[in-house]
Amino acid sequence: MKKSEHFEAGSKEKIQKGLKGTGKVLVAMALTAMSFAGLAADAKEVNLYTTREPKLILPILEKFTDNTGIKVNTVFVKDGLIERVKAEGDKSPADVLMTVDIGNLLDLVENGVTQPIKSEVLNNAIPANLRGADGNWYTLSVRDRVVYVDKDSDIQSITYEELADPKFKGKFCIRSGQHPYNTALLASMIAHNGEEATEQWLKAVKGNLARKATGGDRDVARDILGGICDIGLANAYYAGQMKTAPEGSDARKWGDAIKVIRPTFQKTGGTFVNISGAAVAKSAPNLDAAVKLLEYLVSDEAQSMYANANFEYPVKKGVKVNPVIESFGELVIDPLPLTEVAKNRKLASQLVDKVGFND
């Protein structure tokens, strides 16, 4: 909005007088708004917008506050993170943006809501292929997409391609084909085997579905115990959560009903992984604190919490994975760069529509 240039000096003065009262009202409004939001201008703060599961990262953020004295204000947004930050524009209070899935992270960068930062700490902790070359985004943890089977199953190893085998007809469970976890896997398969083969694969997998492609990853384990299916695709950390849930809880029963197999792509022998990550917001008002927070998130302490509280793979070399995850066997990460995967994301989503995977 253009400011005062439309006004003559004299009329501007009059308006100024008239507006003094309005100004007071607005200042009062500001104070009200601030008291609700806890936004009082304090240097020792950092504002985090995230789509990540609050329960997982809150303990890490609390540790950060204990260590540094910097308070972390959070808002957990589901969809529309980019749209909100964009609308807030140059006045956005956002300092750090945190999300899951490579596609979502690159979307942040492409929409211009991030800024490049330089940090030796981050560059040393994170392998070069897991961060933006210009410092616009950083991986914080790695998660592999695996197969859950009934604990008594004699399947020892499997490829992603084999899931299309008609022997699994009426036995396969998976969440919505449009979920980023699945579209990213499909995008990767398109890169390996081509669009045509991936479409055939997806069709065949649809034919194997035991129920609608819906729910969450944990539902795969639950439905295996419930006798609805024998095999399904899900992220590995959910198995870690369930298998370590309190004795006697429902989640524990589901976790105990399954075993985890790391599938591989036929071509490369690697397992598909996705990431969670973060970026510094373009107009971050607390830039230093934002960088500090990111650096803390790749510290040994925080990375170990990622591994043990959420059973993910730490992005930092040398930090141990949780023993339960280790028991699933060695993870051989598929060598295809994630940025290549992200390129096929839209195509993957269209394939899901095309074969009517969710119908």
Binding site: M1, S4, K12, Q16, L19, K20, T22, G23, K24, L26, V27, M29, A33, M34, F36, A37, G38, L39, E53, P54, K55, T74, V75, F76, V77, K78, D79, G80, R84, A87, E88, G89, K91, P93, G103, D107, S176, Q178, H179, T183, K212, T214, G215, R222, L225, G226, G227, I228, Q241, P246, D250, A251, K253, R345, K346, Q350, D353, K354, G356, D359
Partner: protein, 544 residues
């Protein structure tokens, strides 16, 4: 009148903003959609709407008639208990029933026990994650919209005519068919359209139950394919269809007038005897059990398990409950007052055009918000809210008191704006229905006796509108409290409501952890239901 125009403009702003976004999107995705999801999604959406529409009409009208026209044991309690499912959000009933009806859940477990089957594999029953499952669940939590409006109609309007029909020898069935149903039609229409709009815009339950609706297609286009322009185009197309359908329904009953100048009093209930009495008890309580008792008990059991494990209820969740309560109260007050202004202005406009149906535009514009899915509305609101901030910026700079922060976008004001815009349709609808029951001749009498227009509103209409205002406030309060998608996107830093708290738990896939929050949502939602029930039963007892 001016106020109504301003309100309508505010409600229209997110639609205008979506329209701009839609213009930015390309058109190439339409061929993809047309070849793939659109036919299926449209068919699913149609079936879902039809199914839910039929179910809520039967349940809502049937229940309302049963408790109004017949006397049987527990009728007094049933009258308000039938409102209870209002307190259960669709996303909660979806996950509650997924658990209850899962092969590992209590219902199928009990069945297997009775049938003596050991393993879940021995008995495969239909999955709740399906279109019929979605129709069933949505129907049983949304029928109170119809029940509430038709019961009000039966209570206040039907007595004289129903009794006349009975005296003239009409059979009970004939009374329903030829008197009660035609009388209740505007009320049914209001209730059903609210229920259907809620169904259409529901994303939580349909996505959870795996039903591919048009709304899910909008989400996929936007979230998975990052094409907001295209998503806005689909959303606006849906909006056009909705507006068209509402228009058709209104046209169909344009020429009818539904007001009476008789004293409002409840009809004499027909006392049921023998087996009929018990049949009425069973039929009447079924919707309450399915829509409320089962899911609420499930939540209670799960919540007790959690509290047992944790040893306490966390302070944060109590704070979230407090936030939920006060913001819902404030939003309800604003929405009901705005609804009254709009409904009154609409009546004025209509009168000055001699009952021409096409001039009820203030109400129509103001009702747009409810026809858009919550997240889409929130996205549409981002830009207008930012413009308000720009305006504030401009004013405060002129006044030499520049503010450096956003005061509106991402503040409590954003949330209030979203709630009012989204739920204004409910309050306008209820109040318009209430106004339509007040005969113009009452107003004419008041004007002849020397009151001005606003005096008439204050002294004559408001007291008569009390039941309509109460039901509007109830519906808006409960809906605000349950609202999730717009709240998630627009709320300030560190601000949690019960719904966002529940989402936080659910996003990790640990729905059972959210049981305490879900139970609190249901409990907070019960408060106004009980208040309203008290008011209604007081009314139906004494002479009015």
């Amino acid at each position: 009148m001016m106020a109504a125009i301003v309100i309508a403009a505010i409600v229209f702003s997110p639609v205008a903003s979506l329209f701009t976004t839609a213009l930015e999107g390309g058109l190439e995705h339409w061929s993809h959609l047309w070849e793939t999801v659109l036919p299926v999604a449209s068919w699913n959406t149609l079936l879902l709407l039809l199914g839910v529409g039929v179910l809520v009409t039967c349940l809502g009208t049937g229940a309302a008639w049963l408790v109004t026209a017949y006397e049987f044991p527990t009728r007094k309690y049933l009258g308000w208990a039938l409102l209870l499912p209002l307190a259960v959000p669709t996303y909660i009933i979806a996950f509650a029933y997924l658990d209850l009806w899962h092969p590992l859940g209590p219902l199928q477990g009990f069945l297997r026990f009775v049938l003596d089957i050991d393993s879940p594999r021995g008995l495969r029953l239909p999955d709740i994650r399906s279109l019929p499952g979605a129709i069933f669940l949505l129907g049983f939590v949304l029928y109170p919209y119809v029940y509430l409006s038709t019961r009000l109609m039966f209570l206040t309007q039907a007595a004289g005519m129903v009794e006349a029909a009975r005296i003239l020898g009409e059979s009970p069935f004939g009374v329903v068919l030829r008197v009660a149903l035609p009388l209740a039609r505007p009320a049914i229409a209001v209730g059903v359209s609210l229920a259907l709009l809620e169904t259409l815009n529901d994303i939580g339950a349909s996505e959870f139950l795996g039903v591919q609706t048009l709304t899910v297609a909008v989400y996929t286009t936007w979230v998975t394919r990052s094409d907001l322009g295209a998503a806005a185009q689909i959303a606006l197309t849906m909006l056009l269809i909705v507006v068209f359908l509402i228009q058709v329904e209104k046209k169909a009953r344009r020429r009818q007038r539904y007001s009476t100048i008789q004293r409002m009093r409840p009809m004499a209930a027909y006392v049921l005897k023998g087996w009929k009495k018990w049949l009425a008890v069973i039929l009447g309580w079924i919707p309450v059990v399915i829509g409320f008792v089962l899911p609420a008990s499930y939540l209670l059991v799960e919540a007790i398990k959690r509290i047992d494990q944790a040893g306490q209820v966390s302070d944060q969740i109590l704070k979230a409950a407090f936030n939920t309560l006060w913001i819902a109260v404030v939003a309800t007050l604003i929405t009901v007052i705005a609804g009254l202004v709009v409904a009154w202005a609409t009546r004025r406009v209509r009168e000055s055009f001699q009952g021409n149906g096409s001039v009820g535009w203030p109400a129509k514009l103001a009702s747009l918000g409810y026809a858009i899915p919550g997240t889409v509305l929130a996205i549409g609101l981002l830009v207008p809210l930012r413009l308000v901030d720009n305006a504030i910026d401009w004013i405060t700079t002129l006044a030499d008191r520049p503010v450096t922060q956003l005061l509106v976008l991402g503040s409590i004001w954003s949330l209030l704006a979203a709630y009012v815009i989204r739920f204004l349709a409910i309050s306008v609808g209820s109040i318009e229905a209430g106004l339509s029951r007040i005969s113009p001749s009452i107003e004419q009498a008041s004007r002849l006796l020397g009151y001005t227009g606003s005096q008439t509103l204050w002294r004559v209409h408001l007291p008569l509108l009390r039941p309509a205002l109460a039901s509007a406030a109830l519906l808006v309060f409960v809906d605000t409290m349950k609202e999730l998608p717009a709240t998630l996107l627009l709320r300030p830093l560190n601000f949690e409501t019960l719904a966002t708290w529940l989402y936080a738990e659910a996003s990790r896939g640990t729905y059972e952890e959210g049981a305490i929050a879900a139970l609190l949502i249901v409990v907070v939602g019960l408060l106004p239901v009980i208040l309203l029930a008290g008011a209604q039963s007081r009314r139906s007892k004494g002479p009015y």
